[in-house]
Amino acid sequence: MRLIFSLASAAAFAAIAGTNGVAAAEPQEPLTPEVVAKRLWSIIQVVQDQHVQPPAREALLRAVLESAGRSEKYAQRLAAVNDENVWVGLLQEHWAESLQTRKVSLSVLGAMSVGMLGSQRENRLLAGALALAREPTTPLTVERWQSRLLESMRKAIPGGLQYFSPHDFKIQEQLKSNRYVGTGIQIRMNSEERLASLVYCFPGGPARRAGGLTGDLIVEVDGEKMDGCGLSEVVNHLRGDEGTPVTMVVRQPGAKETRTLNMIRSVIPFASVEGYRRKTAEEWDYRIEPGSPIAYLRLPSIGVSTAHELRQAERRMQGEGFRALVLDLRLSVSAGERDHEAALVANAFLEQGVLWRVRGVHGQTRELRADGDCSFRGWPMVVLCDALERKEPRDHSATLVAAALQDNERAKVVGSPIGTTSLLMQHIPLPDGQGVVALATASVERAQARAGQEGLRVQPDHLVFWSAKSSATLRQQWYEWRHDQSIESNLDAKPPADPQLAKAVEVLQKALAATSAPPKTR
């Protein structure tokens, strides 16, 4: 159940299954302890220069060495680390020693992939998938050693840190651009059959056009058997450049006969705006209740295309008699650093005003102002928020949007409190093509200071928790229904009760009643 649940928001993961394979074209430098040491040195420099609350350099050096629990051994020598060469020497010793100690556990194998792929959410998915694949325990490699050192350093940095190799960063950027190249599938591991299976084929994507079906098991890719391959291997086989062919042999679970899907990899845009329920594979119904003028939009993620999709949704609603809007941010999970995209989305609803302020490393402040061109002008609005334990700590995007709309009195917020840290992450390239790191380079201040709301915390105007008795089940049912809606397998299912949405509708009905009251005579 939990796996399905986590896949509910895995649109981005699907993109990885067939993301443009830059790796295949570019030979990567072999990873040696020296390369790792130099890379870490560069990262520490960048953190010192660009982090908004940089930890002391020595603390970072110590944190790296602590990864093996042997910091005391190096503690006295840390003070002498004043240039890169000394540091490289020290780490080479560390590596030699690490090699001799225990083998790496499966959980570390999972952690390794953190360095490899986009967001933590995607990594968690991959880590889980790898665990499912039950790969055998393997000896320590330089890659794993690097991941351990990075993980250890990450914990010592406020807001954390993420490292991307140049290749991984390109994938991350493709995900962020919503211009993924691939076959348009979402996959998971079928542990019984020990094969990857299609969870979903995106409308308009090559796999769907070639006849791919939900549940299909991937038997072969380009003539190679996939038995016993982990998800990452399957993904590697599916990757390739836009316009290149890929052939997949699939079969339904339990079935013998196979089908061959001939596909050409192409750009697959993923929708980040959805309606209440699907009308058809391509169309949404925005109405919650028949005859009601209240429209419903949900943002499964906030990305660079969201503002564009909102404009499209507004056009589709024209002439349908809508006058108010529920914006559901409850299942919104965005990979990577999306505060820029969040600003564009908040701006899409605001006629004017300050979105929020960003305070940078040198204390300079930037005030982000709405540019005046907005959608759904004058409609009463409710934003739905709900704290999810699943949510990434670094993913501020939904919180930023909710905060901006609340502070400008553009929307009432209904649900449970969300948001924590106010640190904003930014991608900083490392020198000499060593890759890119994401780290906190600024902090954000809300447009209106509110009592009891520290940092970015958004306190709803109407607190509605899922009822204590049935909370878990209700919420789970609702999330699953929403997930089914997003993958269109369940067009006719009746939505379960949703106390937060019910409150939102009530708030909007009152607002509409107030505005449609007969105007006073002049």
Binding site: V304, S305, A307, L344, G360, H362, D371, R377
Partner: protein
Amino acid sequence: MRLACCLLVGVLVVSFSLATNTNQPTTRLRRPVALALSDDGSHLYVANRDSASISIIDTQKQALTGEVRIGRRLVDIAVPDSRHLLGVDEVAGAVLLFSRRDADVRIIDALQVGQSPVSVRTLPDGSRCTVALLWPRRLAIVELQPQLQLVKTIDLPFAPRMQLPVQNGTKLIVTDSFGGQLAVVDVERGAVESVRSLPAHNIRGLCLSADTKQVLLAHQHVSSLAHTTRDDIHWGNLLTNTLRALPLATLLAPDEDALRGESVHPLGDVDRGAGDPAGLALGPDGTLLVTIGGTGELLMRRKSEEAWRRIAVGRRPTAVAASPDGRWAYVANTFADSVSIVDLKKGAVHQEISLGPRPKLSAAERGEELFYDARRSLENWFSCQSCHTDGHSNGRLTDNLGDGSFGAPKRALSLLGVKDTVPWAWNGGIPDLESQIRKSVQTTMHGKPLTDAQVEDLAAYLRTLEPPPALGVARGEKLDVDRGREVFRKLQCATCHIPPTYTSPKTYAVGLVDELGNKLFNPPSLRGISQGGPYFHDGRAATLEEVFTRHKHQLNGELSARGLADLLAFVRSL
């Protein structure tokens, strides 16, 4: 008769050649920019800007039947009744009245109305016309009979371009030439009733909807929140090309929010932008027609259809008119010196009529064509014109890499007079115009790199752009600037703003800091400064007054009210 003509236009004697009428067009650059159809639809009159001529097309024969050359720079044309034509000459500052009988067009009267007239509209009763004067920021109301006579001028708070008479000509909607302002003018009272700021710039289309309940505007909008990255351009976050419909009733009620009840129709789409909407017309059956100047297309949407049909026409189509029976659309292709006749039933070009042979273009003329070409940008979303509207500025902030990084949006700088203002960019980081052009095309527009020859052509075009006249000068006011010049001297303004260009090549810390901590700025030239605004790199001062009253720009002590007034009078005269 010819003698009479010369006498009538005597005031313009320097600028006018004799009216000639010929069926054999000569070789010259025409640059057609405006169209007017005779009321019966039998003849199409084309205003050619550069040749200052009117080409006449017989719409039944679909053939060119004549050309009349008059004046210096003909920029708009209108049909007041069944026997006359009106035109405006931007350089001569004149309204021209022509008699017409089919292909026989003769000038019968001319009147100087003020500097830089850019558009002319006839009021519904046909007895008067209104003329928008760009740099004087003014409207002129002119009576046509018994002879052209200036009846009234109305000052506006912005440089006007498009005009739309409504409510039987008692009200006039006027829009900004560069930014997004819109004014409703009471024609009878001669007063501005209301001024609205729209999320818009480069408004080039203005007409009423088929039911006459909405005002339609074709324009662009640029967001200061977006970055000039491929992603933000591709998804329409940076710049949108738009047809906006505003309810007329709310627009006419001065206290109402003009945008309430609006509807917005994007032009173009991701992967295929429609940079620079340039002309707008409505067919008798409600078919919407928008020309896209930057891509050379006519966008058409029938009343029953949801999607726009895109029809390739000639280069830089700037004006469009529909035949009274709704069968044809006529499109003026400014850079092709031609008119496309589009079959609206088929949604395809029926014929392209050449207005005459073109000479070999000069570097500056080729550069002008590049300046207005949206195909120089990623997916055709915008051109140089989009932000540096007609070489001036849209007054909007854009977050581009002009200052080296994102995070500190900067106001688009005017390019009028740019040849004298080395170095370029707000931080003065670009030492030559050619480098600035390359950088803008590559990092802001994300277009293919220009060839050396293209860069030279664009630079040659930019070097032809002169600073605008000061507002007071353009209005012909008697300016007393001696005291102000003395204040300017005493405050040592010329340390940075050195005459005659009133700028200098260095950068200075003047107490301004951008969002990224940059403190050094290259002083913009003060020539034509009264035609700019808002002011400073981030537009923080809405007016020139605010530069001193709110932001105390380089004032060491208090400036007396009298001193400020004198200083402003001087600066506004530059």
